[in-house]
Amino acid sequence: MSLKHKLFAATALSLITGSAALAETITIATVNNGDMIRMQGYTDDFTAETGIDVEWVTLEENVLRQRVTTDISTKGGAFDIMTIGMYETPIWGANGWLVPLDDLSAEYEADDILPAMRAGLSHDGTLYAAPFYGESSMIMYRTDLMEKAGLEMPAEPTWQVIREAAAKMTDRENDINGICLRGKAGWGEGGAFITVTANSFGARWFDEEWNAQFDQPEWKEALEFYVGMMEESGPAGYATNGFNENLSLFQQGKCGMWIDATVAASFVTNPNDSTVADSVGFALAPNSEGVEKRANWLWAWALAIPAGTQKEEAAKAFIEWATSKEYIELVAAKEGWANVPPGARTSLYENDNYKSVPFAKMTLDSINAADPQNPTVKPVPYVGVQFVAIPEFAGIATEVSQEFSAAYAGQQSIDEALEKAQALTNEAMEAAGYR
């Protein structure tokens, strides 16, 4: 029985038994990005199949995070499904705030979810959110500029190779920067990028006793390397650049390389928006020579059900529909394989049609190269690659990234930034009872 038939049967059964569980409206809070907006466009298909109406609350990522956190921590019940990420899911799951998704139907094939995604969206082995799409980070580079510089991108480049290539591609007269990277303050912006960069230099946020590690040489090496490379080959004002600023620079042909979310691949190769759509290549995120961890993160936007919702069955039916294989096929049939939500299901990467999408293999390889349980070389007491999955992290990392951004902007030295980061992190961890 296909998922579609199952949903039909469930609807019919609910009508026969007189249950009103499915004949209702569910409210979903979500973020404003391409894949989510596309899903909203297909909601009518879901309503036609199940009779369940859907109301959307679409918000900007940071507003959404504040909004759903307020609601779930007060048991407000304003939403039946929330779009949350890998950071929130294990914490909220541990708090008992989410409905476990361990009883999804056999047709849904929960085992098909990519293992890395499943691990990041679970607590104690129980899945608490179903991934709608997943992403890692990788190198996007201009094949024409690489060729002009007489270079070839290795399949597994090191930071040292990247720095050299960036310097060769830089052409200040023609406004071409060899490399564009995030520097903007914020735990999810520059904070995420510098954390994975530090991982690839062997640094870690905390030792096994939750002591901050910013006084260790690996952090200093990572920051000095990053600042040195950006001063040589980065755009002016990089300390305030985030995803959107770099996307804009890359699309206008002003970056030789850009290391960022794999989801950006579909933007930079779209000829409607990008002036360099025909000459973009992809490579794995780099590592420092001799360090086995690469600078790539792992993230998923996933759908979760807040505990206490009156419409749990309808919410589950929606999650099964939106994150199913059938949904992927629906989008592929209407909009092409390049537009399906990536990074969630193993079967997608076994599909011959999808294999022809230029960034498909690199996305999967990047996702597989990230390990939330062992994000860096040394052992850590936390889970998470570009974040530490504890409630205090967002606040601490925002402050730390502000100190780093001030160093990028030349307002203080790297040593000063690291000293302040060390002090404020240890202080916050002590206050929170970790140390």
Binding site: T27, A29, V31, N32, N33, G34, I37, Q40, E55, W56, V57, T58, L59, E60, E61, N62, V63, Q66, R67, T70, D71, T74, K75, G76, G77, A78, F79, G188, E189, G242, F243, N244, L247, S248, Q251, Q252, K254, A261, V263, F267, N272, D273, S274, T275
Partner: protein, 276 residues
């Protein structure tokens, strides 16, 4: 006697006023222009001012994706409702403070204003929990009451200063003629204070229309006004500046038009009286 102004000085003043006006209006003008560009044109460097192919595509996309009418209606009800409720409470309050002040009136006025200094996020959780308790989360009534309470100090202050300009003897004369308190406020005080009340209403409609903390945090699908409509087009991962600009233009258009037509009343109301 009016001071004589030379034509040269007048021209300079006019030029300075236009420059300041354009500088302040420029971000709005840029938003409106961007809303007619494609996403690629919106981020073009150097920026395109007028020389681009104008398109209505962003507006079509926004209209297709969102129920603009519902957001607009919610904004009208919330901004209008909170202002009217505020005026109903503030007129008698300002009357008593202006015409029958007590020893503590000045202190009360200052204390009322001091409530504006509290950061809204500091009371987010108590208000959210109260909204759940009263079953008014994601309802227009909750926002009408909260925005009224937030703006009440400003409404009372504005009305108080307008009322202070009205000679108390006129009200006394009305009382001598046998007017009751209700008649005195309704038929004598209010008609004389109409310009002040009108500008207070206008200013508070604008404040309530633009309020983006409580309107985002206390709503979901049902009561969300135009601030939530704008927030749904902002994205840290993806360049949707042209669509965001179209949504912003649609959200500010009603209040911009209202402000344009009533600017005379607004200015005369705000500059009414000698002590401003």
């Amino acid at each position: 006697m009016a001071r004589s102004v030379t034509p040269r000085r007048k021209a300079l003043n006019t030029a300075a006023a236009w420059s300041v006006g354009l500088l302040i209006f420029f971000p709005i003008l840029w938003t409106i222009l961007t809303s007619f560009k494609t996403e690629a044109q919106a981020i073009a460097d150097p920026p395109l001012f007028l020389g681009f192919d104008w398109t209505l595509e962003n507006y079509a996309t926004v209209m297709e994706r969102s129920n603009y009418g519902r957001f607009l209606w919610n904004s009208i009800v919330i901004a209008g409702g909170s202002t009217l409720l505020g005026i109903l409470i503030a007129v008698p309050a300002a009357w008593s403070m202006a015409f029958v002040p007590s020893k503590r009136t000045k202190d009360i006025l200052l204390w009322m204003l001091s409530t504006k200094m509290l950061p809204a996020v500091g009371v987010l959780y108590p208000i959210y929990l109260l909204s759940i308790q009263f079953g008014v989360l994601d309802s227009k009534i909750a926002l009408v009451v909260i925005l009224m309470l937030i703006n009440l100090p400003i409404i009372v202050w504005m009305l108080y200063t307008y009322f202070k300009e009205i000679p108390g003897e006129i009200l006394e004369a009305a009382r001598m003629d046998g007017a009751s308190l209700k008649e005195e406020v309704l038929y004598v005080l209010t008609p004389m204070a109409i310009p002040g009340i009108a500008s207070t209403i206008l200013l508070n409609v604008i404040l309530a229309w633009n309020e983006a903390f409580w309107t985002l945090n206390l709503t979901a699908a049902k009561a969300a006004p135009l601030t939530a409509f704008i927030a749904s087009y902002s994205s840290p991962e993806g360049l949707f500046y042209a669509k965001l600009s179209a949504a912003s233009t649609m959200a500010i258009a009603p209040i911009l038009i209202l402000g344009w037509f009533s600017q005379k009343q607004l200015v005369s109301g705000l500059t009414f009286g000698a002590v401003k």
